[in-house]
Symmetry: C2
Subunit: 299 residues, 2 copies
């Protein structure tokens, strides 16, 4: 987990690392060592972002790329209602980049990491003739009722989301705040049956919950909240990278959440219900099949 | 930690995953969930490999690239005398690759992972117009006396290595076996003061131990074992990616290890001693400064 040439960045990380009692050994050894004496399970998630696919470096700049990388990983921890603990990074820096590239990248990573008490405990910094590639792995712990999986939705459950959807490509996909705190607050307040962060797109991600839960869902077109960046329903259904949470709760819990709106700073919306099978869109009283499509890496 | 299009690989991983009681939730959710009820610390290391830098895909083939990726990460766990537990992967696959590329890559990763009971618990599979990039993060646990850091060498300690060095580029860098078992056996048998895996090159990596331990070292040219692939001493000193272990022990422990050679399948060599300061090469009775150089990513 170290190569020569990255030492300046290890030094940089060491100098800029805030104190974290969980970090027994930080950057600079063969592996980081984290205190896990709680005995709680370890959540682990990874996401890789590439220039020209997940961002355009020349447009977004390295700071926002760093932000997005950390935020996308933290969003996966949020989707489990987990508490993030630490992150490791691996980057391939383009040789054409100036010396500010790596530093701005790390500043972006750190801004989001710091906001969620997530220490960067190690990394592998490389350079090459290709475009910027950055990969982060975040470790976390479940909280309270344990990790919220995709597999617990039941027919009759309500489907809620944490905010308006669609048009993320116009800026939110770079600048969003992962719903870590909101997920923990929801998980304290009610029993979350299943949860996912909307990264592939609403239809696709609700489809994932249905697949894993062995059930179906009906989305109500009139109730799907459109973000200001979205002009039409299709964008809310199929655009990727909203990074809001979609979750299943019992109707009584859903009613409480809609009535009390207990999460500061966001509005919860009910957008449908889980059913026995199929994925459906109900619009003007008519129900038609909804394709669980979204943004897709073609292999 | 999922994107559309990679679902075939998640299915593949699920079908091919061996049972591992530590894996509470494997591939297919937003994050993997690992049992950490031991309360032992969590070791975490990451390494990214790029086509044209760490391997040539056209020459090595995806299977060996997968092997190397997992083995390089496990080697970092070995350098802590740790027990690997699980891995997550992130890959950017070239669109020009045929459908066998991802599968062969995963088979290579799995061959080495399986050999060390390291489950692949999640991943992020992407495709793009660039060359193959693969990043792995491995989690592990310290064993027995706890993690062996780079920082514990003392003047007077002996410097040992687990095998002959140099010329790894001729093949070993792709096909090596990480010294996970050997590290655990050594750690059971003696008190390892400091340890590192030789990835940057012997001189550079011994330099890392010295930097972290606040001491120096003398390497004895006559005692540095050359691998069959190496023609001269310089290769053993400065070539990267031998992935043998270099470690510091008290002289009495060093004597026992050299006399008993207790680790099946390998020969331990004493190649020098730790001193107060400096990095030195002693050859034909003369001591001269040794540059801690090695293979280096230029940033």
């Amino acid at each position: 987990m170290k190569k020569m040439g990255e030492f300046d960045y290890i030094d940089w990380l060491r100098r800029h690392a805030p104190a974290n009692r969980r970090v027994l050994v930080g950057p600079g050894d063969d592996a980081a060592v984290l205190d896990w004496s709680s005995g709680r399970p370890c959540l682990v998630t990874t996401d890789m972002l590439m220039d020209g696919v997940d961002f355009y470096l020349a447009e977004a700049g390295p700071f926002r790329v760093g932000r997005k990388t950390m935020a996308a990983n933290l969003s996966d921890i949020a989707a489990m209602a987990g508490i993030p603990v630490a992150a490791v990074l691996a980057v391939a820096l383009p040789r054409t980049g100036d010396s500010k590239l790596a530093e701005e990248l790390y500043r972006g990573l750190r801004e989001v990491g710091d906001a969620f008490y997530t220490s960067i405990v190690g990394g592998d910094t490389n350079s090459w003739n290709g475009p910027l590639v950055i990969s982060a792995t975040v470790l976390g712990e479940p909280h309270g009722r344990g990790p919220v999986l995709r597999s617990g939705a039941k027919p009759g459950d309500w489907l809620l989301v944490t905010g308006p959807l669609g048009g993320s490509i116009r800026g939110k996909h770079l600048d969003f705040t992962p719903r870590v705190r909101e997920a923990l607050q929801l998980n304290e307040r009610v029993h979350l049956h299943a949860m996912i962060d909307i990264s592939d797109g609403l239809a696709a991600d609700v489809g994932h919950i249905c697949d894993e839960s062995g059930c179906g869902a009906v989305l109500r077109a009139e109730n799907v909240p459109l973000s200001p960046a979205a002009a039409q329903l299709e964008q809310a259904l199929f655009d990727g990278e909203d990074f809001e949470l979609a979750f299943a709760v019992a109707p009584a819990d859903g009613e409480c959440l809609l009535r009390d709106q207990p999460i500061a700073g966001i509005t919860l919306f009910k957008i449908g219900e889980f059913v026995e099978k199929g994925l459906w869109l109900e619009q003007a009283g008519k129900r038609r099949p909804l394709e669980p499509k979204g943004w897709q890496h073609e292999l």
